[in-house]
Amino acid sequence: MTAAAATTARPGTLAPLIRARGLELAYGTGGPVIRGLDLEIGEGEFVVVAGASGSGKSTLLGALCGLVPHTTGGTLAGELTVGPCDLRTDGPDAFGRLCGWVGQDPEAQLVLGTPRGEIALGPQLRGQAPGAVARAVEEAALALHVHTLLDRQPRTLSGGEQQRVAIAAALAQHPRVLVLDEPTSQLDPVGGEELISLLRRLHEEWGMTVVLAEHRLERCLSAATRVIALDEGRIAFDGAPADFCAWSAIDAPALATGVSRLLAPHGLASAAVTVRDARAALASHELLPPEPGLGGDVARLPPEQAAGARPDGATARPGLRSRLFGRSTGADPAVAVRGGWRELRDGAVLLRGVDLEVEPGEAVALMGRNGAGKSTLLRALAGLDELERGKVERAGRIALLLQRPADHLLHERVADELWDGVDLAAAGLDRVPGLLARHPSALSGGERQRLAALVVAGRQRPAVLCLDEPTRGLDRAARALLATQLAALRAQGTATIVATHDPEFAAEIADRVVLLAGGEVLADAPAREVLAGGWAFATEVARVLRGAGGAITLEQGTALLAPPPPVEGAESPDPAC
């Protein structure tokens, strides 16, 4: 369903709760970010808002809560109403009576000293009686599983825990609409799926209207009743998730999920909403390859897609396991940690005897749940934190890109961060208009991430570049540019170690995946072995194919499936997008 016909509430929902007519929003002197939007969202819908970075998702969500333009500044034309609240006359206080809001950075939303105070604040400020406040805290805390965290300091909570507390604080006000801007960006795959399940439960059991913006659509499409895709502030698509999968695979491959693009050549993209549907569609067309142990193996892949080959043409390097068995390249490691043990004063152990060796030019992905020890290991490698036991051997300087790129960009102008002769093209920044004169905060998330990577790597090539959650909040195009930047560094011999929750990114860039849990190394193996063989840390393609042929990337999955039959009117999606 396209934009022209799709601005009304879905059938089966109550009367429209959110209504926009000719809505235009702009910041400062720039052009409108939202352009002439007509939209109706009924009470009880679960709407996913999709779109590339800069398409207007966050602005639309901010407007639904009255934050844009009332607290951010900017201009408004047209109308937007949420229930009785009108954006032209009402601000966040009025909208806050109906809307709960959870932003991208949960830490920034926690304003009091404990989660208990945080959750209670909204009901207290709204004049609820003490008993009602206590009940609201209890219910929200139990719903979000944060009842054991209520008296801890927010700074001691992990990103995922902070996210849950922020959602609990929003829920405690019993909003009719819950607005979430990339709520899974800080969460590991399991945590992300748990959060989406919780939102689905709130939606189904409480009848709550949920409006959620996400880049990782594969996580939330199965819970959604409707998808709205924005393109440069306009609605490019509005329809059911299955229709979105079919539409995006052909018309907007940059938004399409991996499974949509995998199925699109066979005309099955509309079945890509859930893994179960995708497998059923493949099976019904006799396209499903045999699973490992049932006749499926890597040999079925073409030679250029077989184990060890990566999409960018680089060859996978042997991991620690292969080196232990005498197949080492013989090169001195770029960095090695032996028996790394890190513990805190309060007794918490973050790393428990970690061994890791990375060779020059090798790319390693660190994966694991929130709190597994990934960031701690990177900080120890970079020398920011000392190990209590064990040692780190470095062949040269180690640079670390922290989770928030803004932490590296402290000057007022981009030009002040750079040096003479810097290669902006290598970071894909040479075509950003007015880059040097801009404030780093005025760049998009992807631009800021690449600039920070450039600044951190510095003038002289580091022996190792570590990156902590570099794809957080990036759309697919920005992730692809970052991968290109990393490939260029690898080509010069820089080893890269990436802590990530993004299996697709790991599959794209890593030779080897190290899986951490509780500060210990659970697995250290070639990327294909880890990302195709499991569930929580498998790529979407691998989940659909259940590890058949060891396919973990779209290209490998496409190669594994039988040649597609010609589908009338269908165009082949661009796999590079």
Binding site: R116, G127, A129, H408
Partner: protein
């Protein structure tokens, strides 16, 4: 914020009772000019902190205060021209003129320094044991906006400190980074201050969304008053007893000390016993070990 959640009577008691207890101790320090009694109090306060399971901040405060105490003694000796027992003649020192250091001035400086040190220890002991959120919740009953502003400010300060640490890390973990010099530290400070406005902006937006500008009156948070616990009673009783002892000691002449023009002091032994009694009475409630989980 140095609050350290532990299971002791001082942590478990309501903030008002704990603050009253600390205030009574401070009163004892203020009314007592006797150096021997003050020395006993200064030495005994870390014991109270140990009983409250927060010895670290109090000991650190004592260590931090020692050099300042010495400076105080020396400064008082140099600047105060009272007392008759000259211990050092410095002669003419322009522009101060003739300077004679007297034992009385040095002793009075010592008394002031001991008072400062004891007050600092008591303050830090209370900070480590009284939950600021519970305290501000109490303030919000009386002045809602002031209490909320205080709570947000207390949250903002460590948040900015965290920002500063992260920015410093951001510089350190560059490939051409390393230890931070003065220029880098200045950059970190300017970025932290510069972005404080963004932080405040975020907080303001969150508060507004949660209803800070509501038209209805704010509910008195926790207006459903919790019953007094035995720790509350014990601490209040202890505070009243400490205050009574302090006043009685002063009025009874147990802790008299007048340095000028020559020393006029009560005997040391009664003063020391008085200080020991203060510490015992103050410390008695801290011996309780049951029911000391701080309330949620």
């Amino acid at each position: 914020m140095i609050y350290d959640r532990q299971r002791t009577a001082l942590h478990a008691a309501r903030p008002g009772a704990a603050i009253l207890w600390a205030a009574a101790l401070t009163l004892a320090v203020i009314v007592c000019p006797h150096p021997a009694a003050l020395a006993v109090l200064c030495a005994g306060l870390p014991l109270l902190a140990w009983a409250a399971k927060v010895p670290r901040p109090v000991l650190l405060a004592a260590a931090f205060a020692i050099p300042f105490a010495l400076i105080w003694v020396i400064t008082n000796g140099l600047l105060v021209r009272e007392g008759l027992t000259v211990v050092l003649r410095l002669g003419g020192v322009p522009p101060f003129g003739e300077i004679d250091v007297t034992a009385e001035a040095l002793a009075q400086g010592g008394v002031l320094a001991l008072r400062g040190m004891a007050a600092l220890q008591i303050g830090l002991l209370a900070s480590a044991c009284v939950d600021p959120d519970r305290l501000l919740l109490g303030v919000r009953r009386i002045a809602p906006r002031a209490g909320l502003t205080g709570a947000v400010a207390m949250r903002l300060a460590p948040a900015l400190a965290d920002d500063g640490r992260r920015y410093a890390d951001g510089l350190r973990c560059r490939a051409d980074g390393g230890d931070l010099g003065g220029r880098e530290r200045l950059l970190v400070m300017s970025a932290t201050v510069g972005r404080a406005i963004d932080r405040a902006d975020q907080v303001a937006a969150i508060l507004e969304l949660r209803g800070l500008r509501r038209s209805t009156p704010v509910a008195a948070p926790g207006a459903r008053r919790a019953p007094w616990s035995r720790h509350d009673f014990a601490l209040v009783t202890s505070a009243l007893a400490v205050a009574a002892l302090a006043v009685a000691g002063r009025l009874g002449g147990l802790v008299v000390f007048d340095p000028y023009p020559t020393f006029d002091a009560a005997p040391a032994l009664p003063a020391v016993l008085w200080a020991a009694a203060i510490l015992l009475v103050a410390g008695a409630p801290l011996l309780a070990r049951r029911g000391t989980e701080p309330p949620r």
